[in-house]
Amino acid sequence: MAHSAIVLCGGLSSRMGRPKALLPWRGRTLVEHVVATLRTVVDDVVVVTSSELDLPRLDAVVVRDREPKLGPLSGLRDGLAAASNDLAFATATDAPFLSAGFVRTMLGFGRAAAPVVEGFVQPLSAVYPRALTTTADALIAAGRMRLLHLLEAADFRSVAADELPEVESTRNLNTPDEYLGAVRRDDPGARAQVELFGLMRTTSGAATIDVDAGTLGEILDRVQSDFPMLRLRAAGEVAKNILVSLNGQAFVRDASLPVGAGDCILLMDAAVGG
């Protein structure tokens, strides 16, 4: 029997400080990793995202969450509406340890089903019938926004942890600490890169530096420790005289920002122009 999968990545990632879908994981972005894992099990993957997020090219149908402020129920509703098959496994994008065996087992129940781990139902590692789209609309209209309500409306099958392989598939990452902990456990040698420009390059004599993955603050502290002539930090913050770009894209200043394996931090002189 053919199945679908839905990946929700429309969240704000506010605690993480950067979009969780785009966190590096095993040489690609987290959303690419999750989609690739799901594609080994299901026929079609629907990624539901916000209009602000630019995702990499994916082997999936990408739909924009019509009402992102309504939370995951709205995104799931949009995902179910775009799914090709009657039954869909739904996950958040921040599921780095999601396994094909786990997904296959969950879909094997053939009905609405959700794991219960340490006493908590995990609605973002669960199976939903596509027919629940209208129920989701009704719940949204009634202001009942919890995914659990949708599962309950479908009389879902509770799945105990000991019925499941690789129950870590349900683990999500919400904070820099959780992400970096997962990175270090997955690859203790995970490295990021720092590129220096302008005065920082001429005064340090270094163009690129390999560093351990960590928070931006940890990485700047490490570079400054190796090159004491640089002024990268001030009172625990990123020094005003430098600009920091993450992978040449966003400019960032939050010292708690997680920097993962393969990320590249560009350090530039703040005085731009002329």
Binding site: G198, L243, F251, D254, D269, V272, G273, G274
Partner: protein, 585 residues
């Protein structure tokens, strides 16, 4: 009787046609409302330049405006503005230059010099009188040297004599570079103006001025100016390349594969010969590099970008030689590089015969031909917009200009708040009157996705620039200020004795921006002028960290509308009656 300090309270109006000059009083109210520099210069242009005048006609006014801070010990204050209707854009051009000309010009006992009319034959203006000159045909540097015994000199090069629409005016090794003011001077057959005098303005509170000056000088040695001091602006180049924001091959790409060879990081260790600074400056941003056979040139990012990556040229000797040649001929490097890069793309597309990207010898030959208006150079002397109109075949879509002025070295698709600044700029694509790129280089906006929300902030960078350009202070100081408006008010209080506040200066800066817009409206501006070339709206960047970025037309329109609203103008950008009433022109 003048009751305020820092100003002379008059300007000198000299008619080059009749050879006569007159001192004309300036009301305190005008000076307080528009200050000096570009503010006073724009006000004088409204007054002295007839509506609809041909920028190269004798009736067109050419204004040299000083400022209340010139002559004080405040660092970087030795600056002046040159203001005229631009022969390149048909709009206002307000260009800044620095150093001794500002100090000695103001010591003539005037706050501005306004030149009208035209000389009957090539002449120089010395000690208030015209003299026929045999310096016509010589470089601006030679003219400045020849006239140095008489005072401080601002002169045009050969390009100005030949009315190249982006010719410069040069003084003290610096240049009023953008908008073709050298052509305005050339049309008046004035090779040079020499200033000298001994009339100083008093300071209202000299000890306070000195204290502020000492504090500002001290802060100017800090990290906020370290890049300019130690590396110069060419320190931008490699970082811009990494961000795919380095305009390359006429804006066909944001990355240049030979960028490293032109970077300060690579060139400075082997080529840096000396550092210099303008008069009254503690920053010292001028970096002199060696090239060729024992030659040297002042290196700036804009020169290197425009004559290097933009033309597909990566040989540092060739780029530095071209930069030096532009200085000698009196050509704006940005417009020269932009127009030649445009021609190179036209040649590659088979629209014209001419050098192609990477042809350094072709670049050098074209600079000569442009300055002398020979062959293809005669067409390119008109700038990329007019050249595209003549070439046709849709080439206007990739002519790298806004309102006729060529873009500086900030790829707008990769820096989309700056793109808004380019689109609405009163003198065309401009990185000195809008500092919106500062927002793109911050965590405030998404540089690859411009938004209307950034428009108010972009307008704020224009306002701050307008204040600095009216005071006048170097923008390399901007990172030094904690509160530009409050600190500027303190300076002005001490210099002039006015009870000026930060809030008053906020209003003053917005007024100056509106004043320039009012001039453009008078000269034919329409909302359609505030846009970007089609290339930026329809072609995604092909590679690098900004790959795929473009600015959909609707996005740009939304940003422009938000900008106009933030300024209190109509959605289309017209000035409401209340603004005209406030300007009291």
């Amino acid at each position: 009787m003048k009751t305020f300090a820092g100003f002379h309270g008059r300007y000198w109006r000299f008619d080059l046609g009749t050879g006569t000059g007159a001192y004309i009083p300036l009301d305190e109210a005008v000076l307080r409302r528009f200050l000096g520099g570009v503010g006073l210069g724009a006000w004088l242009l409204h007054r002295e330049s007839p509506a609809g005048v041909d920028p190269l006609a004798p009736e067109a006014a050419l204004v040299f405006a000083f400022s209340p801070l010139v002559g004080t010990p405040l660092t970087t204050s030795a600056k002046f503005a040159v203001v005229a209707k631009s022969p390149l854009t048909g709009m206002i051009s307000d260009s800044l230059s620095s150093s001794h000309f500002a100090i000695h010009g103001k010591r003539m006992g005037v706050d501005a010099i306004v030149l009208v009319g035209a000389c009957a034959q090539p002449s120089v203006l010395v000690d208030g009188a015209l003299r026929p000159t045999d310096l016509w045909g010589r470089s601006s540097e030679e003219a400045c040297a020849a006239l140095a015994p008489y005072g401080t000199v601002a002169a045009i090069g050969v390009a100005g004599e030949h009315l190249v629409r982006y010719a410069t005016i040069s003084n003290d090794g610096r240049h009023a570079g953008r908008g073709g003011l050298g052509a305005v001077m050339g049309a008046k057959k004035l090779k040079a103006i020499v200033v000298r005098g001994e009339v100083r303005t008093e300071l209202s509170d000299a000890p306070a001025v000195l204290a502020i000056a000492k504090d500002l000088s001290k802060r100017s040695f800090g990290p906020a100016t370290a890049k300019y001091r130690e590396l110069g602006t060419v320190g931008n180049l490699l970082a811009f390349n990494r961000l795919a924001a380095l305009p390359t091959r006429n804006f066909q790409s944001g990355t240049f594969d030979q960028a490293a060879a032109l970077s300060a990081e690579q060139l400075a260790p082997t080529r840096a010969k000396a550092k210099r600074s303008c008069a009254s400056c503690t920053i010292g941003c001028e970096h002199i590099y060696a090239f060729g056979d024992a030659k040297s040139v002042r290196v700036e990012y804009e020169n290197v970008f425009a004559l290097g990556p933009l033309c597909g040229i990566g040989d540092p000797d060739a780029v530095l030689a071209a930069s030096k040649r532009c200085d000698d001929l009196g050509l704006d490097t940005i417009s020269a590089g932009g127009t030649i890069a445009f021609a190179m793309e036209c040649a590659e597309r088979g629209l014209i015969a001419g050098p192609r990207f990477g042809d350094a010898a072709g670049l050098m030959a074209l600079l000569e031909d442009i300055a002398h208006r020979r062959g293809l150079g005669a067409l390119l002397a008109e700038g990329s917009r007019r050249a595209a109109e003549a070439i046709g075949s849709g080439s206007i879509d990739f002519a790298p200009q806004v309102k006729g002025m060529e873009l500086p070295g900030y790829e707008p698709r990769a820096l989309q708040t700056m793109a808004l600044g380019f689109a609405v700029g009163t003198r065309g694509a401009d990185h000195n009157r809008s500092g919106a790129y500062e927002l793109d280089f911050s965590d405030t906006v998404d540089r690859l996705k411009g938004s209307p929300e950034a428009a108010r902030l972009a307008a704020g960078t224009e306002d701050r620039a307008a204040l600095m350009d009216a005071l006048i202070l170097c923008k390399f100081l901007r990172g030094v200020f904690t509160d530009l408006y409050a600190e500027s008010a303190a300076m002005l209080r001490a210099v002039t004795g006015w009870d000026v506040t930060a809030a008053e200066l906020v209003a003053t800066s917005a007024r100056i921006v509106a004043l320039k817009k009012a001039f453009n409206i008078r000269e034919g501006w329409t909302p359609a002028s505030d846009t970007l070339p089609k290339r930026f709206l329809s072609e995604g960047l092909p590679d690098g960290a900004s790959k795929g970025a473009l600015i959909p037309r609707e996005r740009l329109q939304d940003m422009v509308r938000a900008y106009n609203r933030a300024r209190g103008w109509t959605d289309d950008g017209w000035l409401p009656d209340t603004v005209y009433e406030e300007l009291a022109l």
